[in-house]
């Protein structure tokens, strides 16, 4: 408990090689990503599709191995663990998935789903496991009789609750929530966001919250990281980031969010062009091809992530913008 940070990620990188025997370019999904998460903190990870959010989340949850860089959990390096130690670590980091339909095995009852982790980790007796499952179910406001039912009998929101309950059964310290609400109906999203936030505060969970909905992240996260093409563009405490975004990409992103408030439509700034392919990212600053304020120098070197005001980092060489 002496560590300041529960999770320290530094210079993390992930390349996806093409599948066995096939040829093709290497996809640089994540490059040189560093951030830390304090115990009890919620860090939001935002970025457009393909920016590497899931890849980072999965590396943090030890589901895939990083190509480079290190991940330290409570100060100890996780990339070099034995299988046994890895299993122990798995219990401490849990993952919540985006798709409430795909993330629950259609062939298992809710009870089986909820006790699976305990079975794997060989925690407790049969009845203790059942009790833990029931408790987890209660904590996400589902009726106890759900235990013997199958996932298809539940609505999307309910399934997402089950997914959350599953993550809770192992009493993890860190939860990686990968777009937990983006597949849900609008009227349900708020329920799930509230539930997650409530659990996080009640259980003192640390959370890496991945989303592309900026407003949801604003509501949930203490610190926000903005990703673009596998690199961090900007990282700042939530309030700061939304109040005064520094990076041109963050600004564009915020401005692109459609809002019922007509006043926000006026000074809309629309980015040109598409996101480049991560298999062939632009040289220098990856955002420069779409950046409204790019200059020649942007192409020559990768801009470092620099701290401006306290705790507010950005990777942009243009300091001259307001």
């Amino acid at each position: 408990m002496s560590q300041e940070f529960l999770l320290e990620v530094s210079r993390l990188g992930k390349d996806f090689a093409p599948v066995a025997f096939a040829r093709g370019p290497v996809v640089r999904a994540v490059q040189d990503v560093s951030f830390n998460i304090k115990r009890g903190e919620v860090v939001g990870l935002v970025g457009e599709s393909g920016s590497g959010k899931t890849t980072i989340g999965r590396m943090v949850a030890q589901l895939i191995e990083p190509t480079s860089g290190s991940i330290r959990f409570e100060g100890s390096e996780t990339t070099s663990l034995s299988r046994r130690e890895l299993r122990g670590l798995h219990a401490r980091v849990q993952y919540i998935f985006q798709d409430p339909f795909a993330s629950l095995s259609p062939r298992m009852t809710i009870g089986e789903i909820l006790t699976e982790g305990l079975d794997i980790q060989r925690i407790g007796s049969r009845s203790e496991r059942a009790a833990k499952a029931a408790q987890a179910l209660a904590s996400v406001d589902l009726p106890p009789d759900a235990i013997s039912r199958y996932p298809h009998e539940f609505s999307g929101g309910q399934r997402q609750r089950i997914g959350i309950a599953r993550a809770l059964t192992l009493a993890p310290e860190l939860i990686v929530a990968d777009e937990p609400v983006s597949a849900l109906d609008v009227s349900i999203q708020a329920q799930i966001v509230n539930l997650l936030r409530d659990l996080q505060m009640r259980l003192g969970l640390t959370m890496l919250f991945i989303a592309h909905d900026l407003a949801v992240v604003e509501y949930v996260a203490d610190t926000v990281i903005v990703l673009y093409l596998g690199r961090i563009m900007e990282m700042a405490p939530s309030r700061e980031l939304y109040a005064s975004p520094q990076h041109p990409y963050t600004r564009a992103l915020l401005s692109a969010v459609p809002s019922p408030d007509p006043s926000r439509h006026a000074n809309r700034q629309i980015l040109k062009g598409d996101i480049p392919s991560p298999a062939n990212p632009p040289s220098g600053c990856v955002f420069r091809t779409r950046c409204p304020v790019a200059v020649d120098a942007c192409a020559s070197a990768v801009p470092p992530l620099r701290e401006g005001t306290k705790g507010h980092f950005k990777a942009c060489i243009r300091d001259d913008l307001g």
Binding site: A20, R58, G88, Y95, S103, R107, T109, I120, P143, Q158
Partner: protein, 291 residues
């Protein structure tokens, strides 16, 4: 909570079965199959002729009240042989199905779940098995292990598993990336856990359908082998070796009951199994879960 008001909680298998029973052709298939099974399994309790009892005074006789389906070239009762043959054919088909399903599943599952290297090696092996010309393989294998019930089972099992392996592997490769399996790995699950708790239940549709169709296939293969003189050896009856008699033109022409009944039984049974298999395929189709 609306959906929670549904009464009862049917598992995926039960739901698949209830879909199965809504399928007309499949039910017809089953309705044909069950009597065939019952008849072949019980005939010795109620039919007075024995399949191997020869009666040299009653050779090649057409259907009559004594021999309902006639008699064969040594005066054996066709009905008794038909039923015994069905028993043997189904036995051969079922046991070889069990063996090849087991082999196919495990080899495919290990290839699918155990990582790239194992996968590559296993799949090359499967390719090899599929490159082998089946005729040569069959003939050679049959001459090595001999003919008879056990060798036939052996040959059929060995010939059939690669197809299943491929299907299982393909499914598991895809499954490995599915969120609920990722979740399971995220909780520290090992290979065995994944195979049994996720691999097996999620390939059950493939297995069930394969197993069913493999029974049909096994019956056909047995018949083919016996036709080549390699399968179940006479005097033990099987549908295949009963059909072998039709190779002689005079039997084909003059004693149609000697081949029509086994031929008919074979086609009808295989057809019924195919109907059932097709029904199971639809019933277990993962896509029908979405509806």
């Amino acid at each position: 909570m609306a959906s929670l008001t549904h009464a009862g909680s049917a598992g995926p298998i039960r739901r698949a079965l209830s879909r199965f029973f809504e399928n007309g052709a499949a039910v017809v298939g089953l309705a044909i199959l069950i009597p065939i099974l019952v008849l072949t399994l019980t005939y010795d309790l109620w039919w007075l002729h024995k399949p191997n009892d020869i009666d040299l005074l009653a050779m090649n006789q057409g259907p009559s009240s004594a021999h309902w389906l006639g008699s064969d070239g040594v005066g054996r009762d066709i009905m008794a042989r038909l039923l015994q043959g069905g028993r043997i054919s189904l036995l051969v088909a079922t046991v070889s199905m069990a063996i090849s399903t087991f082999l196919g599943f495990f080899i495919g599952a290990i290839a699918g779940f155990a990582g790239r290297f194992v996968d590559g090696a296993t799949m090359r092996f499967v390719d090899l098995a599929m490159t082998l010309p089946p005729v040569i393989f069959l003939l050679v294998l049959a001459s090595i292990v001999g003919s008879g019930i056990m060798p036939t089972i052996f040959v059929i099992s060995l010939l059939s598993w690669p197809v299943l392996s491929r299907m299982v592997r393909a499914r598991l490769l895809e499954l490995r990336e599915r969120d609920f399996v990722v979740a399971s790995r995220g909780m520290g699950a090992g290979l065995w856990h994944l195979l049994i708790r996720h691999g097996l239940p999620n390939t059950i549709d493939i297995l069930v359908v394969y197993a069913t169709l493999q029974v049909a296939n096994g019956i056909l293969l047995e018949a083919g082998l016996s036709f080549l003189g390699l399968g179940v050896t006479p005097p033990e009856a099987s549908w295949g070796n009963m059909l072998n008699a039709a190779r002689a033109t005079h039997v084909l022409e003059n004693y149609p009951w000697q081949w029509m009944f086994p031929g008919g039984a074979l086609v009808v049974t295989v057809l019924a199994i195919n109907f059932v298999g097709d029904g199971l395929r639809d019933a277990f189709d993962p896509r029908s879960e979405l509806k």
